[in-house]
């Protein structure tokens, strides 16, 4: 099985010197889904931002599909790693849903026609093709989240990283999001405090504490160990 993510000794310090990550080792294979658990401020999101080079490590290395997340590889890596941010309003910025979803393939250099095809296919995958002409800010929270996911799927990623995807969603919305994600073949990293949601998607979990991974195991084992 091919290794999608390989992180060795990752350290990161903010500009003021606070250490956010202290030596993270982590790996993930194709098709795997893992939940990142742990208290707020323990470094989960900071870790995720390293996976497509939005932050650069102060020490250690991050490999995606065997390639270092640096310099000239960044454009290709950003297509392979799809980050879905917590607040969809920060993610959607183009005037219409279709244009927003087509943004990544267009940025990658596809023609408008090819990008449109990709975007429509991605919208169909998340069940939103009927909204393609709408303005993103006129959608409901659940619809926005689906469009944000489509915007990631449009560049055919290997890995989906979802940061608190269920915030702002009502319970039916959370369940339908879980169903949608379960049907996607990509490897997934879920950052979440929503345990029913995590249980429905991930068998495995890692636990973050103060910038380190303190345990990795089955989801139930982690939940029992940390009384989570």
């Amino acid at each position: 099985m091919s290794r999608i993510v390989e992180v060795r000794g990752l350290c990161y310090a903010w500009e003021d010197g606070t250490e956010a990550l202290r030596g993270i080792d982590f790996n993930l294979d194709a098709g795997q889904t893992v939940a990142l658990l742990g208290p707020n401020g323990s470094g989960k999101t900071t870790f995720a931002l390293h996976l497509n080079g939005l932050l650069q490590p102060s020490a250690g290395s991050v490999l995606i599909d065997g390639v270092a997340v640096r310099g000239k590889h960044l454009a290709a890596i950003r297509r392979k790693v799809g980050l879905v941010f917590q607040d969809s309003d920060n993610q959607l910025f183009m005037p219409t849903v279709l244009e927003d979803v087509a943004f990544a393939p267009l940025s990658a250099g596809l023609s408008p026609e090819q990008a449109t095809d990709k975007a429509i296919a991605a919208l169909r995958q998340v069940g939103m093709e009927s909204k393609s002409g709408k303005a993103p800010w006129h959608l409901s929270s659940g619809e926005k989240k689906r469009v944000a996911i489509a915007g990631i799927l449009a560049s055919d990623p290997l890995l989906l990283v979802l940061d608190e995807p269920t915030t702002f969603l009502d319970p039916p919305g959370q369940r339908s999001l879980a169903t949608l994600l379960a049907g996607l073949p990509q490897a997934k990293i879920l950052i979440t405090h929503d345990m029913p949601f995590a249980r429905s998607l991930a068998a495995e979990a890692v636990f973050f504490q103060e910038g380190s991974i303190t345990a990795r195991g089955s989801l139930e084992q982690i939940v029992t160990q940390f009384d989570w």
Binding site: F93, E99, S107, P112
Partner: protein
């Protein structure tokens, strides 16, 4: 919010809404140039343009009176000048300023209520406006919405705790502006981060390919020509 209403109107599907944005910009400019050069003696032409604009508004299935009211925001300003002109012994000059300024505003409101913001920007690009300027306009619009959202969120939070936001106390207002700035900047950075994550490298790729058709040509010929011709004929 005036712009919210414009956004509502501009998403219509009438004949005028479906025209190529560049065609609408050209027609708008024809109106504006003709109106800007009107002299007091040309008042019948002013009436003709008023009628044409009103009919166009009606044909675009927009609420004519409310569009005209939206244009009236320019009137208080113009009235001041009209009063000066009145005392300077040239009341007709003042009235001409009022009429020109209101008719121009009417023309602009009509353009904006038949053209969505993205279409307008695409039209400007077709007319070779500098690409960097068009992109800055796009970002500005996006971040204005962020500012509005953050401001209304803060107002809601403040009024739920302490009644209305104290606009009379300068220091509190200044502090609020500082917080608003910090919040907006935080969100602006998040948006930028999300864009970078999807491969943004400084230029928003072109997407809309709007091709003008025969109806657009007729629209320009049928409106811009008579407007200019009428202005030329009357001298």
């Amino acid at each position: 919010m005036r712009h919210a209403r414009l956004e509502l109107w501009s998403r219509g599907t009438s004949f005028a809404h479906r025209r190529h944005p560049a065609a609408k910009i050209v027609v708008t400019l024809a109106f504006l140039v003709s109106i800007a050069t009107l002299q007091p003696a040309h008042w019948p032409l002013g009436l003709l343009y008023f009628a044409m604009l009103s009919v166009l508004t009606w044909a675009a299935r927009l609420p004519v009176l409310r569009v005209q009211m939206a244009a009236s925001v320019v009137l208080p300003f113009a009235t001041v000048f009209a009063i000066f002109s009145f005392f300077a012994g040239a009341p007709e000059k003042g009235l001409a300023i009022m009429a020109r300024s209101w008719l121009s505003a009417f023309t602009t409101v009509l353009l904006m209520s038949t053209t969505s913001q993205p279409d307008l920007l695409a039209g400007l690009e077709v007319l070779h406006a500098p690409r960097f300027l068009v992109q800055v306009m796009q970002f500005l619009y996006r971040y204005l919405l962020v500012l509005l959202e953050e401001a209304s969120a803060m107002r809601a939070a403040a009024s739920s705790r302490a009644g209305k936001l104290g606009s009379r106390e300068f220091r509190r207002a200044a502090a609020a502006a500082g917080v608003l700035f910090a919040r907006s900047w935080g969100r602006a950075n998040s948006i930028h981060q999300a864009m970078t994550a999807r491969g943004f490298d400084g230029a928003i790729p072109r997407f809309r390919v709007l091709r003008p058709n025969l109806a657009d040509a007729w629209y320009v010929l049928g409106l811009a020509l008579p407007v200019i011709a009428a202005r030329v004929a009357l001298r």
